[in-house]
Symmetry: D2
Subunit: 381 residues, 4 copies
């Protein structure tokens, strides 16, 4: 049994972590925190969670059906009226390292950038494992971090020890890691689309384009005109284009690793009127002639044995086909007329793009099968 904390549990990535961890056979959520909702039970922030997300029993026993059993009307009433066993529901604690260290062996941090780099050092010092779903430990260079996030890095001393948690690329580094920087949703979809091609030396290093389209939940639960229903529904827009989006250096850092030289890419994000899902259309220039079948073979070989990447031989993947699951589905086509390879990658931004990948990382640093607790089929339609 691993005692797990979720810092920032009342955001979309946080609650998704809880959904996954609820079925995890080894991890058990023992603490959750929230900045603005501190002191509230989870079901007050997310009514759908009523009866579902509960902390450890007094005696620490774990009943696999306990969660479901406790969702009946009687207990729901109890929870609402403050009856004796209501304390079992998780209540948001403070974003405090000491408080968390007392209750957890491992902490997921689903916090705005800037917060994690303050919380991580004391947790690590206390011997805890930390998986940060935010941006604070993704860029190896503190200077780059400051350039893109407009704030000094507050934990430079631990930055070098952070592992970029994209298991299909850096899997071997994760075993035993203490600090994992969980990749951004866009970078995951872009890097997985590019890695086989770069590793094989099949494509030019310059001129790579990632045209990415995301559902709105990637922007979180915070309010803004840009996520107001009337402005998003029946609408499509680009934003942060021409190198302005903060995921650009993150993509380039990993592609540089794969290519063996400094890479510069064109990354264009778009906002699509749907809640979940990212589709990236990636464009590469072939160095020498190739066929679609050959490129698909290349992808299949590269991702052989990686359970969460599915390479499609027929048809093109759609975001709905991975909704609610940890899959990244990929397809590739060679366009002989233009000498290009076009790759389509799809994932659920809250799963493989955030919480799912974070649990995959947890599994790996704990020495578990990476699929543990993550064998969730897509919810279709």
């Amino acid at each position: 049994m691993v005692r797990v904390g979720v810092a920032g549990a009342t955001g979309y990535a946080g609650i998704e972590l809880l959904r996954i961890l609820r079925g995890h056979p080894v991890a058990r959520v023992t603490a959750v925190t929230a900045e603005s909702n501190q002191g509230k039970p989870l079901s007050e922030v997310f009514p759908h969670a009523v009866g579902l997300y509960r902390g450890p029993d007094a005696d620490g026993a774990v009943d696999p059906l306990a969660g479901a059993a406790d969702t009946g009307a009687a207990d729901t009433g109890a929870a609402d009226t403050g009856a004796a066993d209501a304390g079992a529901e998780l209540v948001a604690g403070p974003n405090d390292a000491g408080w968390l260290a007392e209750r957890c062996d491992l902490v997921f941090m689903a916090l705005p950038h800037g917060a994690a780099m303050k919380l991580a050092p004391p947790l690590l010092a206390a011997g805890k494992k930390v998986i940060d779903l935010g941006a604070d430990f993704r860029l190896r260079s503190a200077a780059e971090y400051t350039r893109w996030y407009k704030v000094e890095h507050a934990a430079v001393e631990i930055l070098a020890g952070a592992v970029y948690g994209l298991p299909e690329i850096y899997g071997e580094r994760l075993a035993g890691a203490s600090l994992v920087a969980n990749p951004g949703c866009y970078p995951t979809s872009c890097i997985l689309a590019a890695a086989p091609l770069l590793r094989a030396g099949l494509v030019e290093h310059h001129g790579i384009i990632f045209d990415s389209k995301s559902g709105v939940s990637g922007a979180g639960r915070g309010l803004s005109l840009g996520t107001h229903f009337g402005e998003v529904n029946e609408n499509l827009r680009a934003y942060g284009i021409a190198g302005e989006h903060r995921h650009t250096p993150e993509i380039e850092q990993t592609l540089s690793d794969l290519a063996g030289e400094m890479m510069v890419v064109e990354f264009t994000p778009h906002l699509v009127p749907m809640t979940r899902g990212i589709l990236t259309t990636a464009y590469f220039t072939l160095r020498h002639p190739a066929t679609t079948a050959g490129v698909i073979d290349l992808f299949a070989d590269y991702y052989r044995g990686r359970p969460f990447v599915r390479v499609r031989r027929n048809g093109l993947p759609q975001t709905k086909e991975v909704l609610g699951s940890n899959y990244c589905d990929l397809a590739a086509r060679v366009d002989e007329r233009t000498g290009r390879v076009v790759v389509i990658s799809v994932l659920d931004n809250l799963m493989k793009g955030a919480a799912g990948q974070a649990v995959q990382n947890m599994n790996l640093i704990l020495g578990l099968d990476e699929r543990t607790g993550l064998d969730l089929a897509p919810v279709y339609p």
Copy 2:
């Protein structure tokens, strides 16, 4: 191990059954059928299913992680190219009773009305259990069936033995049943909103109104102008109003059981631009004064110990709050100005409204805990 068949696996209810059963510890899907997609592997009809839905191994062994393990790139490639182990993926067989009886102990039928009543008798005769997700065995009267469905009933001899599979109402009849008529999505949402009030004698029997609103997946995967995106998106409409919808007699039959006299209700369905979810607003006239708190207590008492009905003391339930789960969430309010009780019920039409409830019924007729394999948290947002 119970060998389970899904007849009509390539519709929305069918594929949802497979999603649930994939995690069921006792049931194992050993056969699927499809009328129009016969002979095709499931992933040809539903690309998201690639690698996920597989039949029994040659040796009958069950590896809990086998599904996930087989989804990696290598095997995906194998499945697509016809390699040696490709046969493991489920392939749609014929809607044939003999073929199913050979392979299954229990059969779910997710078929258009009229088909199940032909398939069920030979399956029952062969000693199989049958759970019909369609309408063929819901109405006790063959004459009523003919009046609403415009076709003679072809299996009158087994109609009386069918149990209407709404566990929260008829749970005790389900243990050991052989033929279960799984309720319609609308009736489930309406009946659960009415049962406590009728049982308590708190409301008038006349003048009950169910104003129901459904997502589009309830209409299935078949094509029609009414489910064409351009006609549904950014649109809202009523249909089958004023007693024309076929779910009306089904609602009335169960309400009559609960009330102890013949009931007539007003049922109005609407189509909402979303994929999943039903919300029913139910209106009742109070027989004598009551308070909101008192009515909520009544609901909480009535559904005590029923794990899939959650009664809300605060706030009103929303369809998204049960999406992907088997919950039906309820809230009630007394309007003292009008002397009415207004009840809101929400459910996922493919889960508690179809496949989830069907598995709940399977659990009960097999003598299992009704939650087995159904402890799925809502996917939010």
Copy 3:
């Protein structure tokens, strides 16, 4: 030429007023105001408006194609760079009566409740016409206003002079009126569904239910969790049920006029994942037997000569069928089994539910044909 002002032009109703008035042959928008966006040109708040909404020329001349002509690239550039003629674009002024009185003959107020009752008296005193799209002048009783809106009424002296601007009901009172209370979006859809039945004495006065479903734009452009895309999309919810919504007394006031006695109704609003549109399902109890054909005749007779109410003989109206237009489409069905009439009404909440009806009211108080400038076909699909 009537000089028109729009107070609150940067909300959804405000910008919709501008869209309609742009094609109005008699009215000309000469001033707009905005609380939070004061000093900004409209296109800074609504980029789609670039080049479209311009004030009077220096010489007051009106060129019917001027708007379109000015939208070309050159002028757009000019507007953005501060060139000489950039001043022609409307710039939001203050919500100040003096400022408005100087520039306008008639003022539309699309403001939060509480603001209009401060602005209206000085405008009326200055001899201006006022059409309030908010709630401040809808309820005849200041005490009722306070009970529902939790604030003292600040302009009781002019309340009695306000005309409730539902032209199909109170049309004759509008000619020459100075202060018009434009009805709420829900009340318009409810009252138009009920009026013919009440006037004819065909239905009981008690037990009337309005189950209304609205798109999200009715909640305006202000931010809230309830209008955050991730919370609304693929979701349906009820709110303000059992007599809690502020539109309840407004509906009851007019129905009481129509029925000749005090009416109490059940009104239930819902939020639907679409931007525009309201559909109300209205339930009435027949006093004596009637047929669907007879009731439709009744509706057709009642609304004969009313250009913006379309009574459907076949089929049921859908919200998309009136999107962008000023129509309210109606259908009615008798349910002989229950002795009820069920009426469906649809409208675009920003048009017949707000800005469109406001312009219709303006036409009537100015003595124009009520269709002037409002002959806009629905945008379908």
Copy 4:
């Protein structure tokens, strides 16, 4: 007065043509046709059209408010019950050249490809003007047409005389033209994004990429699994990638004109869960350094005086900002890190992408101001 026919009036482009032409001061729709809905009044196919789309009066008189006046309850009833003046509503006639030639001076053809090339020759021979919204006359080479559309061209003799109706590029050729090939929705959005750059010689001719995203109405009103609500909603997908989409040669043909040499481009279409709108993200490689401001100036200069292209100096355009209007909004950014120009273009696929542009073409061939009848503000939100 120009008598206009719409062949294929019961598709989405057809009904949009009627919406626009209803307000056109010179054109009058005198005949509509439909393959599958022949003999039906328009309102039977499109209930929203009830009372709106009427043919010429017996005496040919035109009352500008006649349409609106006829939408009242009385006439609606009359239309439905077959009363004397019901014949005024447009009824779909046959796709027959003789029938159309008798009734029209100009015919819009909104038909599946293959149909227009049979209908156009006799219409032209009868001295009529023809504007084809389909693909039959877009490609100058009959061989190319056959290669992409898999059918022999049946009207090669008139192909050379067809003008590609993109007024911002070929405007001068349109005056007096008899046969106009209205561009595809995707090509319009791509070409307008590229033209200024190619004309100025600022970018490389190779390596151009158009990543386009479209709403679903572009696929028309015909049924297919790909436009079934359950498959499209909350989903995003690419299709026809890597040079497979039929709009590719159309884009290349015009870009070749602009560049002065044969062009090959990468075009990738995507389907977005919304009804209307196309957004194209276009990528170009700079030949020599440039600034964002400089490129925007270039666009502004190129489109100066073109009323339907709006160049944005600030912010990026969104599809909703042109919904229901004939605008194409453009923005451009230079990415100095990659040496690229990224251009965003948005349009309403049924307006500037189909019916709106067709009316713009009609205006030009008739010698009218191109804005005539097209001064429609976007419907926002």
